[in-house]
């Protein structure tokens, strides 16, 4: 038996450290890790589910080739590599390297993912993607305003006297955040949630402001007006640190409580009361989620919210911060998110890029050359990118598809060749987190199962097969053994004497650059060096109002129900939902709906209905939820086709106003009885 310190590499706030107990090359148990102050109590249900996931009978353990639709047959690695290499040479020779789409997503984070990019660079380039499905509108909004995406350490939250969780459901998406929230409440803090849904996170809140979806910016501007009107602003802080306050003040003047009440559908008195709380209770930590920026107006909305922290001086102080994203552990990146999502920042060989938000549409549009071959790793675009049907069409239009995955996902079922992917226990890697500030080692604990080869090894084999220069290969791709992988990682660690592999093997480490309270020095890396409520860059780069602004969403008239697709505790995007541990709690997808919306259509609780719009349709069971606003329906993110319905069947593929994010929630649907 051995106990190994590691970290969950999923695209999740918490990035929990944990210890894994290994017996006979099998994962036996998952234990909490005391080295991470943010995740002291251990991982969530998904972290525990690794025991099933690592040992699952459904895992793909050998290369597979398609013999008929939905049917696959085991092939040897030699055959797989030979087939892929000959296809690559053919497409490169006849159509150029950009006829190959290299699609990678956020399925597993780590520095070794850079090897993939290096390979495709050596190949001569490939068509790649720009933008991001998740959070860039908010990141860009924050970057434009504060200059950087950093926030106070997670545990500082317990010092707050007012906590506002706005468009986030940490009880499901960042469960350990509920610990400091509870501690702050024990110390008398007020806890406010603003969300169109009543969520598990709102249960212990003092007040839930259940505003109309997509109107958050209007509320923020209305609150700002009240705060300014009552002189609850931090004048000293504004004078020293803020650009554009006067024009902002003028800008918000029209957002009277009456007007905002009409837009957001909450009472005027509640708006005035909320403004009083924000204006008079200090310190305040404002925790915006990623949900509310997944609208077309998401970037501007986030800027409006952030203005509340700015004008009340709740930045860079104990218990006071704008708690959006904390990129302090991303010490190895030359260019941080969101800027590295933007087209133009890449190596010239990747000059041809398509939008992740409009993946299907852009793929279908590509000419000279058309997309001939698709390579997918760390991703499941068929369920996770908008407009499943269009993506499927684009996938089927291509000639040849390779998918690297651990399980038969909806995307894997489109592949001509499936290569088995490593799991988190089978190769070491270094990862950061966007919530807790630690640099961590996802440590190898097991030899790969079956015939699984880590991507680095797959690329190494392919590079040799394609006859690439062996010096170049050596320089860019680690040889397939643990020592070489560690050497590769050590190159990144060199500039950071405080971070060594030896120490990382024991547990998470804080980089020397870590600040518990960022911006406490009031240095803001914006063009003006100050907090920019007024941002020229916002206008020049994105063509939006240089001031934070509310841009109403345009509702589709023919489809009266707005579909929200938030994350749930049972899955991280499309991962984990296939495991029995999870399936026992959520065996299939449910469309949550207010009973009154269902009654209008003669639908009863748990009835199977048809859910549809122009983009797609599916049959799914409804479940009544009195915690929803009328006119909102909810289908949680990450369901596979086998679960009944994936929300992206209905999403259109619209980019957010800034940051090249994805406006998932700009989606309207209709349901009817079957």
């Amino acid at each position: 038996m051995k106990i190994i310190s590691t970290v969950c590499p999923r695209n999740c706030y918490s990035t929990c450290s944990f210890k894994v107990v290994i017996e006979n090359n099998l994962v036996k148990s998952i234990q909490p890790h005391s080295g991470n102050l943010a995740t002291l109590e251990g991982p969530c249900i998904k972290g525990l589910a690794y025991i099933e996931r690592a040992n699952s009978k459904d895992r793909i353990l050998h290369p597979q080739k398609r013999i008929a639709a939905g049917k696959y047959e085991r092939i040897s690695w030699e055959e797989a590599i030979e087939t892929i290499a000959s296809k690559l040479s053919y497409y490169k020779g006849d159509f150029g390297p950009h006829s190959v789409l290299f699609f990678a997503s956020s399925g597993m984070s780590g520095l070794l993912n850079g090897v993939s990019t290096s390979f495709w660079k050596m190949f001569g380039g490939a068509t790649t993607t720009y933008g991001n499905l998740c959070w860039p509108a908010g990141l860009e909004a924050t970057r434009l305003t504060l200059g950087a995406n950093n926030h106070n350490a997670p545990w500082d939250l317990e010092n707050a006297k007012l906590i506002i969780v706005w468009g986030k459901n940490p009880a499901e998406s960042n469960i350990q955040q509920m610990i400091p929230i509870e501690k702050a409440q024990q110390n008398g803090a007020k806890y406010i949630v603003i969300d169109p849904r009543r969520t598990s996170s709102s249960e212990r809140a003092n007040v839930l402001f259940q505003i109309k979806a997509g109107t958050d910016a209007a509320l923020a501007l209305g609150l700002a007006r009240e705060i300014i009107k009552n002189n609850w602003i931090d004048t000293d802080f504004i004078n020293k640190n803020v650009v554009g306050f006067e024009s902002f003040k003028k800008h918000v003047a029209s957002y009277t409580p009456e007007k905002v009440a009409e837009i957001c559908r909450i009472s005027t008195s509640s708006i005035i009361e909320l403004a009083r709380l924000i204006g008079t209770i200090k310190p305040m930590t404002l925790i915006p989620g990623y949900g509310m920026q997944r609208y077309e107006n998401g970037g501007q909305t986030t800027r409006c919210l952030l203005a509340l922290s700015v004008i009340t001086g709740n930045i860079g102080k104990k218990g006071a911060c704008w708690h959006y994203a904390n990129l302090q552990s991303y010490v190895f990146d030359d260019l941080k998110e969101p800027e590295n999502y933007y087209p133009g920042c890449e190596h010239p060989s990747f000059r041809r890029k398509i939008s992740v938000a409009k993946l299907g549409e852009d793929m279908l549009k590509m000419v000279n050359p058309e997309i001939k071959m698709i390579w997918v790793e760390r991703g499941n675009p068929l369920t996770q990118n908008p407009n499943t049907n269009k993506i499927r069409k684009a996938f089927r239009k291509a000639d040849f598809r390779v998918v690297v995955d651990q399980f038969m996902t909806d995307t894997a079922y489109e592949a001509d060749i499936i290569l088995p992917a490593k799991n988190m226990f089978e190769q070491s890697d270094i990862i950061g987190s966007y919530w807790n500030p630690y640099v961590q080692l996802k440590q190898k604990a097991l030899e790969p199962a079956g015939e699984v080869k880590p991507e680095t090894e797959i690329y190494c084999l392919l590079a040799h097969k394609l006859g690439m220069n062996s010096d170049e290969i050596k320089k860019n791709i680690p040889e397939p053994n643990d020592a070489e992988v560690e050497k590769y990682l050590n190159k990144f660690l060199e500039p950071f004497p405080e971070l060594t592999l030896e120490k990382l093997k024991e547990g998470p480490l804080l980089p020397n650059s870590f600040e518990e309270i960022p911006f406490s020095d009031t240095i803001f890396p914006t063009p003006s060096g100050k907090i920019e409520l007024y941002s020229e860059e916002a206008k020049s780069r994105w063509g939006v109002n240089p001031l934070p602004d509310y841009v109403p969403l345009v509702q589709e008239k023919t489809y009266p129900l707005q579909l929200l697709s938030p994350n749930s505790k049972n899955r991280i995007h499309s991962q984990f939902g296939n495991l029995n541990i999870i399936k026992q709690f959520e065996p299939e997808a449910y469309l949550f709906i207010h009973p009154n919306d269902a009654n209008d259509r003669g639908i009863i609780n748990f009835e199977l209905v048809k859910l549809f719009n122009n983009e797609g349709s599916a049959e799914v069971k409804v479940q009544f939820d009195l915690g929803l606003r009328l006119g909102n329906v909810v289908l949680t993110n990450g369901h596979w086709a086998v679960d009944g319905a994936t929300p992206n069947l209905f999403t259109k593929g619209i980019e957010t106003d800034m940051g090249h994010g994805t406006a998932f929630h700009n989606t309207w649907v209709q349901i009817k009885k079957i």
Binding site: R265, N605, F624
Partner: protein, 447 residues
């Protein structure tokens, strides 16, 4: 749900037969009511009913930790513990055909580590420590089953100001309590007639046998030893259908000291044996007087009846722990009443038939009225048949004395089967989920 999964992994239980369950209140999120959860497994109660009522002594208390341990090798799989535990802790496993239950990770806590559920909880909402005293006041928390058996669980009630959020939304619609009842799925009862029909026949056979034997002794009614024997064996076979491990059925008799179920089985065993002996003596098949000159067949007969009555009382005591939807302790389907009614019929004791029939009618009608008032489904046709087969034989008996009793007794017996079957249909077991649902329904009605 991490606690549930932590338990599953540690104890290797089969999904979805989890030892730990997270019970929720207000799943549908009624805006006036709080949403909260009780993560519960075994509470290792000081007065543990599972241990007290287990006929096979399959439960013991660990001396060092106080944990109630279920011993798989001693369990018969009779599932009586799943009826008597109000926390739904013992779970019947269809594959192993025995019960299993949380053991509080006794090996871990003996070594000073916490149980897997508490270790797995990512927010620290569950914790474990050894404590001398539990604050029993906290067990009054609404929705928590409190039947005074001193569960070893310390609840930390929600802070009053954070019980539920004030919800601000000018489009909020008023929720009609009438409608709401249709929205909320009713919890499935733990007792199904479909599963328990063998018990209906067993309990009625036993009351029939006792009545027959008694009338044989007191009124010299002919009791065929062969028929008596066959019916008794039939009853035993029927009850064995209800038992997971038939070869361990002898263990039923181990807990006469504490369990009415043991008493029922022991009582029936003795009644059966003595009954056969009595009948044989009476029929002079064996000359017992030569063998055991001090045995007087009459005295033996009365002793047999005493054990028979004891068996019937035990049966009623076994079922007295169930939750009756009509809330009546005394009800028309009790087996001692059936026994008495059949005895009256067998002995042709018209006054007694009349009194018991009247009494049963009243009890039965009260029961149905109570269910009707609570809007619990009942079946008018079945109810009418039941009443008719109770009353008609009596009328026929008085009006047409020449008609043979035995055909009337069959009608009466059919009535008893209906009555007893309805009794199972109307009975349930206290569960945390049921308590939370009741709390929800009751508060919805009053808001």
């Amino acid at each position: 749900m991490a606690c549930v999964v932590g338990c599953t992994i540690e104890n290797g239980t089969e999904i979805p037969l989890n030892w730990r369950i997270v019970n929720g209140h207000n799943h549908i999120k009624h805006p006036e009511l709080p949403v909260f959860h009780f993560s519960l497994a075994c509470n290792h109660c000081e007065d543990a009913p599972c241990m007290k009522h287990c006929p096979a002594l399959a439960y013991t208390r660990d001396k060092k930790t106080g944990v109630i341990i279920h011993h798989a090798e001693a369990c018969i799989g009779c599932t009586y513990c799943t009826w008597v535990c109000p926390y739904d802790a013992p779970k019947y496993n269809e594959t192993t055909r025995i019960v299993e239950k949380c053991n509080f990770c006794v090996d871990r806590i003996s070594e000073g580590t916490k149980p897997a559920c508490t270790e797995a909880c990512p927010t620290g909402a569950l914790d474990f420590s050894f404590q001398e005293e539990v604050d029993l006041n906290n067990h009054i928390t609404p929705g928590f089953v409190n039947v005074g058996i001193k569960p070893s669980i310390q609840l930390i009630p929600l802070r009053k100001e954070h019980t539920k959020p004030e919800i601000v939304n000018i489009d909020a619609v008023k929720i009609d309590a009438e409608y709401l009842d249709n929205y909320v799925p009713k919890p499935t009862s733990k007792i199904h007639l479909r599963k328990e029909w063998t018990l209906v026949l067993f309990t009625l056979s036993v009351s029939g046998l006792v009545a027959w034997q008694a009338s044989g002794i007191t009124s010299n009614v002919f009791v065929s030893p062969i028929a008596f024997f066959i019916i008794a064996i039939f009853a035993i076979v029927l009850t064995s259908f209800h038992v997971g491990k038939k070869l361990r059925m002898w263990r039923f008799i181990l807990n006469v000291k504490g369990s009415w179920l043991s008493r029922e089985i022991v009582g029936f065993g003795i009644f059966f044996s003595l009954g056969i002996i009595t009948l044989f003596i009476k029929d002079n098949i064996f000359d017992f007087n030569e063998l055991l000159p001090f045995v007087n067949s009459n005295a033996l007969g009365y002793i047999t009846i005493m054990f028979g009555i004891f068996t019937l009382i035990s049966i009623d005591m076994v079922y007295s722990l169930l939750v009756r939807k009509d809330k009546f302790k005394l009800h028309s389907a009790m087996v001692w009443l059936t026994g008495l009614l059949l005895f009256a019929w067998f002995s042709d004791f018209i006054l007694l038939i009349f009194l018991i029939t009247l009494f049963k009618c009243v009890l039965y009608l009260m029961r149905k009225q109570a269910l009707f008032n609570q809007k619990i489904t009942y079946f008018p046709l079945i109810t009418s048949i039941r009443l008719l087969v109770l009353v008609i034989p009596l009328i026929v008996l008085i009006a047409f004395p020449e008609i043979s009793n035995s055909s009337l007794v069959i009608l009466v017996f059919i009535g008893e089967i209906i009555d007893r079957s309805e009794f199972y249909y109307e009975s349930d077991v206290k569960t945390p989920n049921g308590a939370l649902t009741d709390l929800f329904r009751n508060t919805v009605k009053t808001t």
